[in-house]
């Protein structure tokens, strides 16, 4: 332990820590733009200048703690310099917060109000630069807003290793630019630089001018894209900002997905697939129970399903690897004794998708294979001749594999042709409509919360399993 004093408070710092790390670990806030705990120290924004007694001002992010040092983070000198740094940063930064997507979660905005609050001292024209520069099909760059903290270039060099970004030119005409033969579009982690950007320079094309962030609420969730199970925040419209006149679909749509920092699983990052959760989940939903394609009531469908289960001599169940821990447990409890159960691989990699890498992406594209296999084993699905009932839970099963004469009980969330071929079809909810847990490939259990109301007609699988075992009322 290295004892240091920050603002008259004695602090036990770890040897090898910087003053900034020691301060933050002890609840003393020091503003930063370029510093990020998972990136190397760049020390270029100069926002974390602190005063060391006897040594003057220096940046806290690159200052190793030394025994007995006395640091001031709020002295008049430090405050004056912070103010000046903000004057410099805003010298050429456009004041276009009114049309900037970052407004409301922008560090520059926050710090300006916290530490400066004064209009610019400059009367000179601002340096003009490129607006809406295409970095990739996913990301736009506004060079006028860029404060050159180099978080994005460091991310591509140190974390995603695509080396896709660099700096061209110098001085106040420096610009972030893609490196010619290393396209950012091929970096499956590229969108993290949008979160990393402390200002509104890097913009998501999906999210561009769609909504203001203060209309949105982040709900903690888990990405179902692969067995990593990254914790995420699903951003959707706040209840009090539900729109009536505009497209009401917006009320139940995912506005964007951002990482929820989790040192045990994904750190502060997620991959682009996780950002595209809307494409994965917002497909047309099935909302009507059916008997061989004919719509029926939920009670009627459950009645018929119980008949089929009662009559079956060799029933087989294909259990979803997208089911939550709770749903899998409910299936085992209510139906595990009736069915011979196998774990089904619901999703496989799409063409062009990265299969697996060292950072986050796993080859298994299902979120809960670990929990499902713990309950139902790892055996390959067997559908021998004589199987007379197959319960299919979730997507990914090829109906051509069904044994001749077998009846089918199908639980699915999406509108698909197979729904009509099932003897009994039951529409179910998806994971953004319910609470639950996924267990990732390392055995780490992460919770997800409901973001939206389920569509009318879709029932929670957990309730359906109980009702399939014994008559019970199911809300849908």
């Amino acid at each position: 332990m290295t004892e240091i004093v920050i603002n008259d408070r004695t602090i036990d710092a770890q040897p090898g820590q910087t003053v900034l790390e020691a301060a933050l670990a002890n609840g003393i806030f020091v503003p930063t733009f370029c510093w990020h705990p998972k990136l190397s120290v760049a020390g270029n924004c100069r926002m974390c200048l602190v005063e060391v007694e006897g040594r003057g001002l220096d940046i806290a992010c690159n200052m190793p703690v030394t025994k007995g040092m006395r640091v001031l983070t709020d002295s008049p000198e430090v405050k004056a310099h912070r103010k000046a740094m903000l004057q410099f940063i805003t010298l050429n930064h456009p004041v276009d917060c009114g049309i900037c997507d970052k407004a409301g979660e922008c560090r520059l905005q926050d710090y300006h109000y916290a530490y400066n609050g004064e209009p610019s001292l400059s009367v000179e024209p601002k340096v003009r630069s490129t607006k809406y520069y295409n970095l990739s099909s996913r990301i736009l760059l506004d060079n006028e807003r860029c404060i050159l903290c180099l978080r994005c270039t460091r991310f591509t060099h140190e974390v995603s290793k695509s080396m896709a970004l660099g700096i061209e030119h110098r001085g106040d005409t420096s610009v972030i630019r893609p490196v010619a033969d290393r396209p950012l579009g091929e970096d499956p982690y590229s969108d993290n630089i949008i979160d990393l950007c402390p200002v509104g320079a890097l913009q998501s094309r999906q999210f561009l001018h769609k909504t203001r962030v203060w209309y949105l609420k982040p709900t903690p969730s888990v990405c179902p894209g692969c067995a990593r199970g990254c914790t995420i925040q699903v951003w959707h419209r706040k209840a009090e900002w539900r729109v009536k006149a505009l497209d009401p679909a917006q009320n139940n749509a995912i506005a964007r997905v951002t990482p929820l920092e989790n040192p045990a699983v994904n750190g502060p990052w997620i991959c682009n697939k996780g950002r595209d959760l809307a494409r994965l989940l917002e497909r047309q939903r099935a909302t009507e129970p059916m008997l061989r394609g004919a719509p029926t009531s939920l009670e009627g469908a459950l009645e018929r399903a119980r008949e089929l289960i009662g009559a079956a001599r060799h029933p087989v169940a294909l259990v979803s690897s997208w089911g939550s821990n709770e749903e899998l447990e409910a299936f085992r409890r209510h139906l595990g004794a009736v069915f011979t159960s196998f774990v089904k691989c619901d999703a496989v990699a799409e063409p062009g998708e990265r299969i697996e890498d060292q950072l986050l992406i796993r080859a298994d594209k299902n979120p809960n294979t670990a929990a499902a296999e713990a309950l139902f084993g790892r055996a390959e699905a067997q559908l021998p001749e004589g199987t007379d009932l197959v319960l299919v839970w979730g997507e990914g099963f090829d109906f051509a594999r069904l044994p001749r004469g077998a009846r089918v009980l199908f639980l699915n969330a999406y509108l698909q042709p197979e729904n009509g071929h099932a003897d009994v079809f039951l529409p179910i909810t998806i994971h953004t409509e319910r609470a639950g847990h996924f267990t990732n490939f390392q055995g780490v259990v992460s919770a997800f919360q409901p973001c939206f109301e389920p569509p009318r007609g879709a029932a929670h699988a957990e309730a359906l399993f109980a009702a399939l075992a014994a008559p019970a009322r199911v809300h849908a």
């Binding site: 001002l57 310099h81 740094m85 340096v127 050159l148 001085g171």
Partner: protein
Amino acid sequence: MAGRQLLMTFPVTESSHRLAEYRARGGYAAIEKALRSMRPEDVTKQVTDAGLQGRGGASFPTGRKWQVVVPGDGQPHYLIANADEGEPGTFKDRWILENAPHLLIEGMLLTAYALDARHCFIYIRGEFDLPYRRIAGAVDEAYAAGLLGERILGSDFSCDLIVYRGAGAYVAGEASGLISSLEGKKGYPRNRPPRLTVKGLYQRPTVVNNVESLSNVTVIVRDGIDAFRAVGTAKSPGTRLFSVSGHISRPGVYEVELGYPWRKFLDEDCGGVLDGRALKAVVPGGISSKILTGADIEHLTLSHESLWEANSTLGSGGMIVVAEGTCMVRLLEIMLRFYHHESCGQCTPCRHGTGWMHRIVARIAAGEGRPEDIERLYYVAKYNDGTTICGLGDAAGYAATGILDKFRDEFEYCIEHKRSRYQGRLE
């Protein structure tokens, strides 16, 4: 001749830069002596005791820089000669590179021996053409004569020397920016700590010395401490090369014994101010050192201590003479245009501050000054001082406040009357 000389001791001819003539003048005797009879630490001690101060601009004691590097600590060490002479007004290293390249190479060998550096680099300014050809030719000559490469002069000491050309960035003359550039990266200076003598080139202990400093190492080892200290003053031993330009009758590179009277140097050695005009101001050592008026230098001598007393420095030895009748607003505008153009853009205060100051002064010079502009220039200079990664931001501020402190009335005149007191003339 401005006092005794240590480097410019021979007549420059068509072939005086060649190895044969250098040897005839007693060249490579110092390295032979060192390899035969001195331990590496003896060389370091000799340079430390001789009191050699860096000739690049900061005047940091050369021996103290070397002492941080521990020979034989199991990791590679590097020595780099900083020949990226880019400070405006400075062209004195160019004289060594063109006319005495072997003096530098011998100094580098001695330094490499002292530092246990197997690989040395000369980072030469990209715009230097003849200096590059001369130093590259000299390196070839030295390799052919067995003075570079494996087992030099039959000893156990091996050393390779690589000449690397810069690509035209002032900031790459800053030691850590130079290292970034040498590594093939953008020439961004680095944050300290770690110091370059701890983690420099390729994250290894590295010493970056100026060309003139390294050339002086040859003189110190060859002639001994006493001979070196006999020249100059007690606090500033030796000589300095000055490149004199501006309004001066005989511009050029001069070797001046430290402690030599300044006024005498300008009037007698350099032939006085151009056309016999009065001396208005002198930039002592490159535009990053604070300007002094003609009256200021009247009783100053050319030594570090004398300049420090006058709140300036000898800097890089780039002396710019400014005659009476010169518009200081225009002069400052040109200086700030340079800093604005050369700021690498890495850290916030310099990236924006240099451009801000340049635009303010350009506006004043164009007759659109505002009363608050002078105060604003002081503000920008103040918050550039000590807040940047390297010294470029500070230097821009010093250039501005240096001129504003001494010639504030000219700026006020320009703001009030919307025109320069001197019709904006520099000549």
